[in-house]
Symmetry: C2
């Protein structure tokens, strides 16, 4: 069956019946707007990301379930970077009338699987016909106490710069996909990233970090946002960049280029006072998540990249710019 | 200058500097997510609408300022239909690298003009490059006390069915645009609708309505949503449909077809107990907004359309379906 046969309201009903109730939702799908119940003493964290076919994803590379999971994950990652608990989300999707309903069923299964895993409830959105490719827009909401929210602006000279997980994998995975590879660790890091929600929330609630961002544009680009908002510089030791074995095998002569400038790893890049290092290490051990201290925040507003031999590395470019 | 020269982050900075602060916004544009301060004892109403080039708008028909205003208006209209005060919104926009920055400046001027008029603050969003046409996604947030929120499900047999303003204008305006007309009342109703925010809030806060929806899909389609959610039927007197003189002059032999099934008027369709009629009339007089009682809610789950001569009118179709 195609969407044209099911119709817009048939599609909405089909989606709605798979959505569970939540105490934070007074009214969900079905009215002109959803009604959400804010938790006492919390602020609402809200973020929005668009994913466009042929720009952000290629249907010859990914299955609909992964696309559904990733569409939500990139938003959950933004909430994680603020230290927020995910609560609700809205999904806008535009797609052609001739798309088989099976595609939407599988896409929604991925979206709702990830939503359940991270405690987010679908409360509304928009469906419409597209004359071009598929366009997805998700707005995700989370909550946290205002004094615990982590911003980009809190980094101070002397802070240690930390990363969760490994970096460069997603960019290397995209290179591999373009070369015809369809599976493996790097490909799955590109197509199905894991938002670091538990780590982000624990860093915020433990008062452990001074600034945080998620690695969506690349380590250098995202560190640049922290530097700019905090008015600081940074010194990175490239030997300490967390690189997976698969990335090392795939990256060629320069192991740093993609690890520094490749986006979409959705790891957390955060700064901590040196005295918190033990606590943060204990937290990451508990979460079974790799932690790397890759450098430190400096007072001068420049970034210095130190090679393993002690030299200075000059990167090709600083991060992903959609219009660049 | 083109967007490619300004870059993604240059564009974001350019937008950000025109956004005023608001007490409901703890953190606006510039972090991974915005942080919003909910009002005490209120629920958050949230809605999302996508507007796609060649589907929802045609740049040969409209100027960028009108497109900006309408993009926000369709979302504010959803908040109005719940009886909510607009508070904040997020804007996602995908557009080609070759788009002149002047287009974005004029589009944003329209968005922010409408935002200021209705008290909504831009708090975040997403900008990205599109390989197809322009895609716009706005998520708008409002607030209201939960016991005052108006739903689609509250209509009861005997309730009077009311409309604000006039209907059919926007659909007739689209017909005129396609025939080459570029100005006038009908065209402006299509390109630059006014969300009925003050009326929606006053109906909710006065406890005057039992159910409400905005006319985005057409009177019959939107009344159908109220009927379905309330488990009721309706009897409409076509002679009482509020039609503008300009619409009457343009509609040809059948004045009811577009007035019943044409969407995008963004008027409020609502139900009231008969005893509230005087109060509602006084409210609309104060707002200088036309009010029409067009029929009543019935117990049987059908809709009956009565012609001026007392006959039964059979409509061509019931409302807009994106995949129909």
């Amino acid at each position: 069956m195609r969407l044209a046969e099911l119709g817009e309201f048939g599609l909405i009903d089909r989606i709605k019946k798979n959505v569970a109730a939540s105490p934070s939702v007074l009214l969900g799908i079905g009215d002109d707007a959803a009604a959400l119940v804010p938790a006492p003493e919390c602020v609402t964290l809200i973020t929005c990301d668009m994913l466009l076919e042929s720009v952000h994803f290629d249907l010859s590379f990914c299955d609909p379930e992964s696309l559904g999971r990733k569409s939500l994950s990139v938003n959950l990652s933004d909430l994680a970077a603020m230290g927020a608990h995910p609560r609700q989300f809205l999904l806008g999707i535009a797609l052609g009338k001739e798309v088989p309903i099976e595609f939407m069923d599988r896409f929604m299964a991925g979206v709702l699987e990830q939503a359940e895993r991270f405690g987010a409830t679908l409360v509304g959105g928009d469906t419409c016909a597209s004359k071009g490719g598929i366009a997805i827009s998700i707005t995700a909401l989370g909550e946290q106490r205002p004094e615990l929210v982590l911003k980009r602006s809190g980094a101070r000279p002397g802070d240690l710069i930390c990363l969760s997980g490994t970096v460069g994998d997603a960019a290397a995975g995209l290179v591999a996909l373009r070369q015809g590879v369809r599976e493996g660790f790097l490909v799955s890091r590109q197509l199905d990233p894991t938002p670091r929600v538990a780590a982000g929330v624990a860093l915020a609630e433990g008062g452990l970090a001074t600034a945080m961002i998620d690695v969506s544009d690349g380590v250098l680009g995202d560190l640049g946002h922290i530097r700019e908002m905090s008015g600081v510089g940074a010194r990175l030791e490239l030997a300490k960049l967390p690189l997976s074995d698969e990335y090392r095998a795939a990256c060629g002569d320069d192991p740093y280029a993609l690890a520094l400038s490749g986006g979409e790893d959705y790891e957390l890049l955060f700064c901590i006072a040196p005295g918190k290092r033990g606590e943060v290490e204990a937290l990451f051990a508990k979460l079974a998540l790799r932690l790397s201290v890759i450098g430190e925040i400096t007072a001068t507003p420049e970034v210095k990249l130190v090679t393993p031999g002690g030299g200075v590395y000059a990167p090709g470019h600083g991060g992903f710019d959609h219009f660049g």
